[in-house]
């Protein structure tokens, strides 16, 4: 009998039920989309930030000071310590392998270049542009083109030669300020240490590179006779913004806390892992990037979470209003049921069962629609889909039930308070 009542109610009041269902589905798709976007936006913007700047700097432990004045390095290539280029890839060993997005090694030396009878002294910088690197059985491309994506080249990026090319002069980049001052142009050939380099592009970075010649790493290594040597490397790693816990010294922690510290992608934890893999390398946070981006990120995530919260409250209120509206209009039904002898409990359980059914169906539809919306937002803004965690479905269905019950309960109580006779006469 009870089931039949429920079934008939759905069959006969299609319009009323579909409006309630629509309201629940709309509200719940808001909830799904906002939860998904709000919780994912931090990660998405973090990845975005990582393409704009590296956040860790590797230098040899036993190194002399870099004497760098006005963008020109005055330290000769023979002085100071080096890191082995081949060992660099070992930074990916261990737990944080996937958080290390890329790295760019650097080797610089003051050199004297000559062309057309002119000569000039400036820094020669060697680096990876987009070098393919093998690690275990995976291979990936890394270099300044991905790690320092603010570097801009007019002309062509040089290839990353494995060895000195036998058929032509290797391509290099000239810094924009240097090119302007010395009237260098694309296609010019420079001579250094008796070997020729061809300028394939003009580089703008707004850093020291603007006054330097930037060449593929292996070319510079050959030129200065230091195979496998690099001076420093910048690493782009996905990190969690630093908090009070991150700043504590891991040496003073209990083993359980130390494990939690080491398993959170703080810049310090990743730096420690790199240092453990490469013991003769000093790993330093590029604090300008790491500290400040963390701050900006937490502001953005915080804003989205608050907006999500506001949207959730709004969706809950909207659903409650819709449920209350449909039930308030069913006073006559309540009056009829009560005059036929139904108790308050029976009436309430009928209405709540209906509401529950609507909530589950509406929540399901809303979840699917919201997930789709979140995906679209991710695709169109970040170029990568935002995936919705399945646990959100449980949360959504549960909160749909909660909200519809809350919205219905008040209205049902109100409807039951009226005298059935008055309601049926139509004066209430």
């Amino acid at each position: 009998m009870f089931l039949r009542l429920v079934f008939e109610s759905f069959r006969r009041q299609k319009r009323r039920k579909s409006i309630a269902l629509l309201a629940i589905a709309l509200g719940m798709s808001i909830a799904t989309a906002m939860i998904a976007v709000g919780t994912d936006v931090g990660d998405k913007i973090n990845q975005e930030l990582r393409t704009y700047s590296a956040n860790l700097l590797l230098t040899p432990v036993e190194d002399t000071l870099d004497v760098n004045l006005g963008g020109v390095s005055l330290r000769p290539a023979t002085e100071g310590a080096f890191i082995s280029e081949a060992s660099l890839v070992r930074m990916k060993e261990g737990f944080w392998s996937h958080n290390i997005l890329g790295y760019a090694p650097f080797l610089s030396a003051p050199e004297t270049f000559s062309w057309h009878g002119n000569s000039l002294s400036t820094t020669l910088i060697g680096t990876y542009f987009s070098q393919s690197v093998h690690y275990g059985n995976e291979s990936f491309n890394t270099g300044v083109r991905s790690v320092n994506s603010w570097w801009k080249v007019e002309g062509e990026w040089p290839p990353d030669y494995a060895d000195w090319p036998s058929d032509a002069s290797p391509s290099v980049l000239a810094g924009s300020k240097l090119a302007q001052l010395q009237h260098l142009a694309i296609g010019d050939e420079l001579e250094v240490r008796g070997r020729k380099l061809r300028i394939s592009g003009i580089l703008t970075t707004s850093g020291v590179e603007d006054q330097a010649i930037v060449a593929p790493l292996h070319i510079v290594q050959q030129l200065i006779g230091r195979p496998d040597a690099i001076r420093s490397a910048t690493v782009s790693a996905l990190t969690k913004p630093e908090d009070a816990f991150a700043r504590r010294d891991p040496a003073t922690m209990s083993p359980a806390m130390r494990e939690r510290w080491a398993c959170t992608p703080y810049a310090n934890a990743i730096a420690l892992q790199i240092h453990e893999n490469l013991p003769n390398v000093r790993v330093e946070q590029i604090r300008q990037v790491e500290q400040n981006q963390g701050k900006v990120l937490s502001r953005i995530s915080g804003l989205m979470l608050l907006l999500t919260f506001a949207a959730l409250v709004a969706a809950a209120l909207a659903i409650s209003a819709a449920m209350a509206a449909t039930i308030l209009e069913r006073r006559q039904e309540v009056g009829l049921m009560k005059s036929l002898g139904a108790g308050n409990g029976a009436v309430a359980s009928l209405f709540l069962t209906e509401a529950g059914l609507l909530a589950v169906i509406g929540g399901g539809i809303g979840f699917a629609a919201g997930a789709l919306l979140a995906r679209q937002i991710g695709r169109s803004i970040f170029g990568s889909a935002i995936t919705v965690h399945p646990v959100v479905l449980v949360v959504v269905i549960f909160s749909a039930l909660l909200v519809t019950f809350a919205g219905s309960a008040g209205a049902i109580r109100k409807a039951m308070r009226f005298d059935p006779a008055i309601v049926l006469r139509g004066n209430a």
Binding site: R15, R16, L22, L26, G27, I30, A33, M34, V37, K44, I45, L49, Y52, S53, L57, D63, L65, D66, V67, N68, L69, N148, W150, K152, K177, S206, V208, E284, Q285, I286, R287, Q288, N292, K295, V296, R299, I300, G302, L303, L306, L307, A310, A311, A314, A315, L317, A318, I319, S320, A321, A322, A324, A325, L328, L373, I377, I381, F382, A411, K414
Partner: protein, 366 residues
């Protein structure tokens, strides 16, 4: 009772007698107006709020004069372009020798301004007194491995300083020693040729200031720090798009939800409608009655919603940005207009449907 009084009587009586129905409809309008106000207010304020966060990144523009120093005229030009919105720190560089005769880059600047500009430097402070030098972490290992007093030679002159403020930055600065500008000039005689500028504002404002600086300082080179300015632009654009997209989704869906509630509550009044028609009311009068009722509800809802939205936006600003997001009165216009138009659409479409049915059939209960 004349027609006009009857009309208002009907209008108000209906709203009052069916208070709960009115309240649910009102609630749905309020929710829409609140969310619309919150999203619009936050969206408009976002650029300003986030740009403030980018202040902490430090210098975003560098002014250099090659083979010359910045004159006091140049500096006052820079200050007038900035108009107090930012920080200017002139810096001079030279190469000195340590007592063990190794070379180190020394720089002269107003040390407290430099610390303000580079707020991310982690400084280990041994003393609370004013400093004579800020020593980069790597330079510190060289100039004074045991901490304390150290001296630097430049030509024939020597300067001594305390290495009680050692900083980590993770950049070239770690290999430098920053001296107070007065000590630096006394030692080297070199005047600042570089100025580090932090220009506060949105990417567009920064770009405009760069243009003005280039025009007023033709002999100097004015370059944005691309890494910082590009990050700021990218982060701002993405965040604005996300907030806009999310708000659009929320506002549109919640609007649909409101339209559904509104429509259903009008449809439930088919009996009232039929009785009015049966008593001889014209279509026009009935339309007017329903329309004015919806407008009234929408106006009240929009006003309450705007107030609630302003409070929520204010609170979001306080909670997240430590600075209130103030309400924008101008937003009251679109919020109110939108609510009224929506309420009218939501109310009038079911009326049109009902008008096609004979009143007698509705009253008979079909």
């Amino acid at each position: 009772m004349n027609r006009r009084r009857l009309f208002f009587h009907l209008l108000l009586k209906d709203i009052w007698v069916r208070r709960d129905r009115t309240l649910t409809a009102l609630l749905s309008v309020i929710v829409v107006a609140t969310m619309a106000t919150v999203s619009l207010t936050v969206y408009y304020d976002l650029e300003l709020r986030l740009s403030r966060e980018f202040r902490s990144f430090g210098a975003n523009v560098i002014v250099t004069k090659h083979d010359a120093s910045l004159t006091s005229g140049d500096l006052s030009q820079i200050n007038s372009v900035l108009g107090g919105k930012g920080e200017v720190v002139p810096v001079a560089y030279a190469i000195a020798a340590t007592s063990a005769n190794s070379r180190v880059v020394i720089a002269g600047a107003n040390l407290s301004a430099l610390r303000r500009l580079n707020s991310w430097w982690s400084i280990q402070d041994a003393s609370a007194s004013a400093h004579t030098a800020l020593v980069g972490a790597r330079a510190a290992e060289l100039v004074s491995p045991s901490a304390g007093e150290f001296s630097l030679k430049y030509g024939a002159k020597t300067v001594s300083a305390h290495s009680d403020a050692v900083f980590h930055s993770g950049s070239d600065d770690d290999s430098r020693v920053y001296l107070d500008i007065a000590d630096f000039t006394a030692l080297t005689g070199v005047q600042p040729g570089t100025a580090l500028l932090r220009i506060d504002g949105s990417p567009r404002e920064i770009q405009r200031s760069i243009g003005q600086l280039r025009a007023s300082l033709p002999s100097a080179e004015v370059e944005p720090v691309r890494q910082i300015t590009q990050t700021q632009t990218a982060v701002l654009n993405r965040t604005r798009s996300v907030v806009l997209a999310a708000s659009a989704v929320v506002v549109v869906l919640i609007m649909l939800c409101m339209v559904a509630t509104f429509t259903s509550s009008v449809l439930e009044r088919r009996r009232d409608f039929a009785v009015m028609k049966a008593l001889g009311a014209s279509n026009r009068t009935v339309n007017l009655l329903f329309a004015s009722q919806s407008t009234l509800l929408a106006l009240a809802g929009a006003l309450i919603g705007f107030l609630a939205g302003a409070v929520v936006a204010y609170w979001i600003g306080r909670a997240n940005f430590d600075a209130a997001i103030l309400p924008r009165l101008i937003l009251l216009v679109p919020v109110t207009l939108g609510s009224v138009v929506l309420a009218l659409i939501a109310a009038m479409s079911p009326i049109r449907m009902l008008q096609r049915i004979e009143p007698a059939r509705i009253l008979r209960g079909e």
